[in-house]
């Protein structure tokens, strides 16, 4: 098959990253469960990470063509910060659940003007 012979370029990684990003955005937009929204956030950050790692890859963009190790370092920081943000978001969700006995984000309208 032609697809299995040609070497993979950065654009293929970008497409995978784009699909994950869009899935995350749709998840954030349509899910009513707060934890579903959180999963969408994780998908978005992962799509961005795939992009960073692809441009920083020594195979795909060798030498000065790409951003080298910077891509991996940035991906590292993104992973760590995403974990921290997930912890805080979960704490907020648990608090919300304790106060309202539901995690439905449509019910979070007490501050509505």
């Amino acid at each position: 098959m032609e697809a299995l012979n040609a070497p993979v370029g950065v654009s293929h990684y970008l497409i995978v990253g784009a699909i994950m990003f869009v899935c995350g955005v749709v998840c954030m937009a349509t899910k009513r469960n707060a934890l579903g929204v959180l999963m969408g956030i994780e998908l978005v950050l992962n799509g961005a990470n795939v992009n960073f790692v692809a441009f920083g890859s020594e195979y795909l963009r060798p030498g000065t063509l790409g951003i080298g190790l910077d891509g991996q370092l940035i991906a590292l920081f993104v992973i760590v910060l995403a974990a921290a943000e997930a912890a805080v978001a979960l704490a907020i969700t648990l608090n919300f659940y304790n106060n309202h006995a539901t995690v439905d984000v449509d019910q979070a309208d007490e501050l509505k003007g």
């Binding site: 697809a3 993979v8 195979y59 080298g68 974990a83 704490a91």
Partner: protein, 201 residues
């Protein structure tokens, strides 16, 4: 069949798995299944990282994201998924709106990804590239010494190439703050009302 480029084969495999399970997260309505599909999707992404030569980031993805963040997520799911709350369905109108927004974003990103000709294929082939010792270089970069750019010719560029020490310290303090804050936020306050959530441990 000619010589199979195994790199492309595994990229196709991991890419399809990652995208497929991401789609599964969007389309599923059971929150526990969504979490499971997310686990598999992030695991496949870790495989993609290994393929791109970022083995340290791939192992980090497995340990921190899949092993840490998602376990946290599943704990949250278990603590808040009681009976009728397991599946909250979205109305059809919102799905259409989401599909339009998502579709248009995907079209834009897709056209951007395929626009540059230099990105379509890897320069020089992927077959016999030496694997880099990334872990040591990453570690030194985090401590402030950019040992991967030792051959940089331009002295001005070299002078401006600081390591990642400051972000490293900031992120460490940030994690400490988040830990304390999240533990404080999620502390059990009213012992009377919800018995179920506290007797799991």
């Amino acid at each position: 069949m000619d010589e199979i480029n195994w790199h492309s084969f595994f990229f196709l495999l991991f890419g399809l798995l990652a995208c497929g399970f991401a789609l599964g997260v969007v389309l599923s309505s059971n929150i526990v299944r969504m979490a499971f599909y997310l686990v598999l999707s992030l695991g496949a992404t870790s495989g993609l990282f290994f393929l791109a030569g970022a083995d340290f980031v791939g192992a980090m993805q497995l340990m921190i994201y899949v092993g840490g963040t998602l376990v946290l997520l599943i704990f949250g799911v278990m603590l808040t998924a009681k009976g009728p709350f397991i599946s909250m369905t979205t109305s059809a109108g919102e799905w259409v709106l989401g599909a339009i927004v998502g579709g248009s974003l995907l079209a834009v990103l897709f056209s951007a990804a395929t626009s540059v000709d230099a990105w379509q294929t890897a320069p020089g082939g992927v077959e016999k590239i030496e694997t880099q010792v990334t872990a040591t270089r990453l570690g030194m970069g985090l401590l402030g010494a950019r040992v991967d750019k030792l051959e940089e010719k331009n002295p001005e560029q070299l002078a401006g190439m600081a390591g990642y020490l400051l972000p490293f310290e900031i992120v460490s303090v940030h994690l400490l703050v988040v830990l304390i804050g999240a533990a404080y936020l999620a502390r059990p306050k009213k012992r009377a009302a919800r018995g179920a959530a506290t007797d799991l441990l």
